[in-house]
């Protein structure tokens, strides 16, 4: 039993009360006097030259206060890839060409949404239609239409990634067996409940203040300033409560640029909120991939060599696709120890909405293919697939030279515990036809060590102030987007300072108040911002001890401790003073000294990906309707190693939410396009899982390890949890009915078709 007072317990969210009462303000709730409504004019064509944009009629419409086109922009490409300029391929508004249906051409601000919408119908654009290409393999062929004319773009390939270690060819040559498979992964939408939205206002000083729904306020400040030609200090980004993101809000979007630019031109606040249709059809998608996988192994089940090749359907612009391109290759070799590995990935432009980062950042595609193939290998060897995973899974201290070091690693215990609690050995392969059980495993980064913008370093900062009002104020640049990071930061500060949770206030996501932080992506907040908060709290605590020492005048030098709102002598706990007496003496004392702790974190020498990795094993149990192919989820058990648990309620919530998101990815969700047109841009036609669909029994086993690099030994519990879902469901389906679907999503129709083909084969 660890001596923690608030860590590792189920703690109420610090933002909970606001949210259950409807008081919480999201960007879409921000209303300013004189606020105008903005709307965006989009391309109806998948690929076309823009010959002329005529907005005179729109400008003349009564009630229209501003209309912008590319002519009102700097025509400078922007994006997160500031350190890799060849990847910057997107403009605030299209000026030469449009590259997908929905590409932004102009924007209007009017007195209300009706006028704004009418204004859109008055914009006339002349196009010269160009041949379009929608399939990445087609796009790579000679003579395919060129979507971008970059010097580094060849056959629409915008980026390639290569990973290699060990001696792959030699290793394959000495394998007992080699297995090759191909998989197809489809696009899905982030489908955050809150759409992308911004409210921007420009003061007479020229300073732009923008409230926006984002994961990365600091990036938005830099990118927006750049796109508007302002100094960064002239842009203030405020992130109110965010209604979900999952990687769909880690870039600058057109709502942010257009709201800001329109507010500059109209001299009035402008709100620009995407419709649900725009959300689905014009923002970002999880990257569709074609996956080729070759694995070499020995008769005893040892995995010896692996080769992976991917072709990513990048859509019209890079987005964060190139990172997904790298990470899917890297995590293809996780969480197993494969000494010889080679990966080649290609990111290809097509005339569709851009694909980009989405929860797991390439991981879900990697683990679905990896786990599906592992089960096929196990069958080939006549081995229990769980045993195969145990035999090959990573162990603490595992190292991929030049790539990463894995300090803490609980994967083996995760596999064992998920087997025990589900009765794996009694069930696998032994249940009646139609019922099945399957496993998927994963490992994921606790924050990327890399940064795309301006510097190569990932960094987080924190500031903690204690005032005579009796509260501890924590200022962080991390982004509370629903995942609970504000609560985690409050817990870390409370634990370190020995104060109760309700004495801690967290202020996050305001670039003019909070220290810079790369924000919420790559599961980085708990470890990176958490470390910064812990350091700031320690710094502040030392300041308090100093004052306490002056107050208590111990005759010899004792070590101090802070706990339960008191500061006392470690060896003589009875001798102590109330913590806020110390604060008062410090602040009101003759020095009038301020109590402010500083903390910061940046990983150095931690390889190319992450300073630490979470691990886990997931077992799902399904029942299949043999006549319709419909999959019913009976039960899911997940054993997750996130190091030291900070908030039990939070980790469980992430586990459950991630699984159901993955269940949708596997069984139902699919962003269907036909000739570049998204056919289901609504919650009527795009199928999210609903309450009656989710497993009735949901079990979360928290396997605690200690991660030396993490605050109190903590690691991520967010994105990684999405990685095993598809594989473990696919494997359960195979166990139930003996069909293996390699192209996602696994719909009832595909299952039924496979079942019929299987029957036919058995007859023949």
């Amino acid at each position: 039993m660890k001596p923690y007072s608030v860590l590792g317990k189920p703690i109420r969210r610090v933002d909970g009360v606001e949210k259950v009462t409807g008081a919480a303000k999201y960007t879409v709730d921000v209303q300013l006097p004189g606020m105008l409504e903005g709307r965006i004019f989009r391309s109806p064509h998948p690929h076309a030259k823009i010959l002329n944009v005529d907005v005179t009629k729109a400008r003349a419409l009564p009630g229209v206060k501003a209309v912008i086109t590319a002519a009102d922009t700097l025509k400078k490409p922007y994006g997160n890839w500031r350190r890799y300029e060849h990847l910057l391929d997107e403009y605030p508004l299209a000026w030469d060409k449009v590259r997908f249906i929905g590409d932004e051409i102009a924007a209007v601000a009017a007195v209300d949404e009706d006028v704004a919408e009418e204004a859109l119908t008055l914009i006339d654009v002349e196009y010269e239609l160009l041949p379009a290409v929608f399939d990445p393999v087609e796009a790579m062929k000679d003579g395919a239409p060129a979507i971008h004319e970059g010097a580094t773009v060849d056959h629409n390939v915008s980026e390639t990634r290569h990973i290699e270690y060990g001696d792959v060819d030699e290793a394959f040559s000495r394998c007992d067996r080699v297995r090759e498979d191909e998989f197809t992964l489809h696009p899905v939408a982030h489908a955050a409940m809150e759409p992308h939205a911004s409210v921007a206002t420009t003061g007479f000083s020229g300073r732009v203040t923008i409230w926006t729904s984002t994961q990365v306020p600091y990036y938005i400040q830099i990118l927006l300033a750049g796109a508007l030609g302002l100094e960064e200090g002239k842009v203030r980004v405020i992130r109110p409560h965010v209604g979900g993101a999952w990687g769909g809000k880690i870039e600058m979007f057109k709502d942010q640029y257009c709201a800001a630019r329109l507010s500059q031109m109209a001299g009035r606040p402008v709100r620009l909120e995407y419709t649900r249709e725009e959300e689905f059809a014009t923002t970002r998608r999880r990257t569709p991939m074609k996956y080729y996988l070759k694995t070499g192994y020995m008769k005893d089940g040892r995995l010896v060599a692996k080769e992976a090749r991917t072709i990513l359907d990048g859509g019209a612009y890079n987005g964060m696709g190139p990172t997904a391109l790298y990470l899917t290759g890297f995590f293809q070799a996780f969480p197993y120890s494969i000494p010889n590995y080679r990966y080649n990935g290609y990111h290809v432009y097509t005339n569709k909405s851009p694909s980009s980062s989405m929860r797991g950042f390439g991981g879900p595609q990697a683990e679905f293919t990896c786990d599906s193939q592992l089960d096929m290998i196990a069958e080939d060897l006549g081995m229990d697939p769980a045993e195969l995973r145990l035999k090959n899974s990573m162990t603490p201290g595992y190292e991929i030279p030049g790539y990463c070091k894995v300090a803490s690693c609980g994967i083996q215990e995760c596999i064992e515990r998920s087997m025990e609690s589900t009765g794996w050995r009694e069930k696998r392969g032994k249940m009646p036809h139609g019922k099945g059980i399957g496993m998927g495993c994963y490992g994921f980064m606790s924050g990327g060590v890399f940064n795309w913008i301006n510097t190569p370093y990932a960094f987080s900062g924190a500031m903690i102030r204690m005032g005579v009002d009796g509260f501890v104020d924590v200022y962080v640049g991390s982004s509370e987007i629903g995942q609970g990071s504000d609560t985690v930061m409050a817990q870390i500060a409370a634990e370190e300072l020995g104060v109760p949770m309700d004495m801690v206030r967290v202020t996050s996501g305001d670039t003019s108040i909070c220290p810079p932080d790369l924000g919420a992506w790559g599961s980085r907040q708990t470890l990176m911002t958490g470390n910064a908060v812990k350091m700031a709290a320690q710094d502040l605590r030392e300041q308090l001890f100093e004052v306490a020492r002056g107050m208590m005048m111990p005759n010899i030098v004792y070590a101090f401790e802070a706990k339960d709102g008191r500061i006392f002598l470690k060896e003589r706990p009875k001798r102590g003073v109330d913590l806020f007496e110390v604060v008062k003496v410090a602040v009101r004392g003759q020095e009038g000294q301020q109590l402010i702790g500083r903390g910061f974190y940046t990983p150095h020498g931690k390889g190319m990906v992450s300073p630490a990795f979470s691990f886990g094993a997931q077992v799902s149990q399904v029942e299949i309707d043999l006549e319709t192919g419909k999959v019913h989820m009976d039960q899911v058990t997940t054993a997750h190693d996130c190091g030291q648990v900070i908030n039990e309620l939070g980790v469980e919530g992430q586990l459950e939410g991630a699984f159901v998101m993955g269940q949708g990815y596997t069984l139902a969700e699919n962003l269907v396009t036909e000739e570049g047109q998204v056919l289901n841009p609504s919650f009527v036609d795009y199928k999210l899982m609903r309450a009656p669909d989710v497993p009735v029994k949901f079990e979360s086993l928290l396997v605690e390890t200690f991660e030396p690099e993490g605050p109190f030994g903590a690691k991520e519990a967010g994105e990684g949890l999405t990685n095993p879902n598809a594989g473990c469901i696919a494997n359960a389906i195979y166990d139930a009915v003996g069909v293996r679907i390699k192209d996602m999503p696994i719909t009832p129709e595909k299952i039924l078709k496979a079942l019929e083909e299987k029957k036919a084969k058995e007859k023949a």
Partner: protein
Amino acid sequence: MMDFDVTSVKTLDEALKALSEYGDDAKVIAGGQSLLNILKQGLMAPEILVDIKGVAELDGLQIGASIRIGANTSHRTLEDASALDETWPVLREMEHDLASVQIRNWGTMGGNLCIADPTGDPAPVLMAYDAEAEIAGPEGKRRLPLEAFFVDYYETVLEPEELLTAVEAPAPPPRSGVAHEKFRNVEGDAPIVVAGVRLTLTEDHRRVEDVRIALGGVAPVPIRALEAEKVLRGQEPSDEALAEAAATAPGETAPIPDITASEAYKKKLVRVLVHRAAGRALERAKGT
């Protein structure tokens, strides 16, 4: 764009007057659970909506030898109507599982039928119950079998100045059982295929005296599977007979392939759902 006037009428006469006054420029709104989506998309631009939700005489159930469902009756009212359990229990079953509670509370039976979405839940069940549609117009009222009410995809027989006032279904004959089956990949979602079956046994329970099989989502309109009915009528109520009828039904359908399912898969679902619904209807008939 939602740029139209609304006139809220309180009586059937007012409604009909309004409709003949505005003619083609008007659309009727009751709950508007489907209509509003179409209007928001700008796929229809009426000058005025005639709001009949407040017309009390079109609201509510009359239960006797037959059941009369006023066009304004909400799905939730039907779901909650325990008075149906005796003779029309499947109406409640169907309503309990229709869309979401939010939609059941505000949406009406009349609205559902008039939108004529072929995947709607109620039509096949009502057709199995041998329901009739009652229509009011300038020349007074007319009645027709519900299957004749639907003309084409999202199209009914209603003239611009006409109004659906009620649907009426007789009590099933003695020794009858009724069942409803639907398939959807995600719960709480619109069905892909719907089947409703009413099966009546002979006095000695040895033969199928009569059967009605209605299907939704497999043609531009909800349809009867008349061939499948023929196959079953007069047969011994064996599972083989049911299976044979079920195997006949797909041939009578012309499903429209869409992003939810292919034509072939929808036909397979028809066989499965008809078989299951007929099976449950038979069990219930035996129980009588």
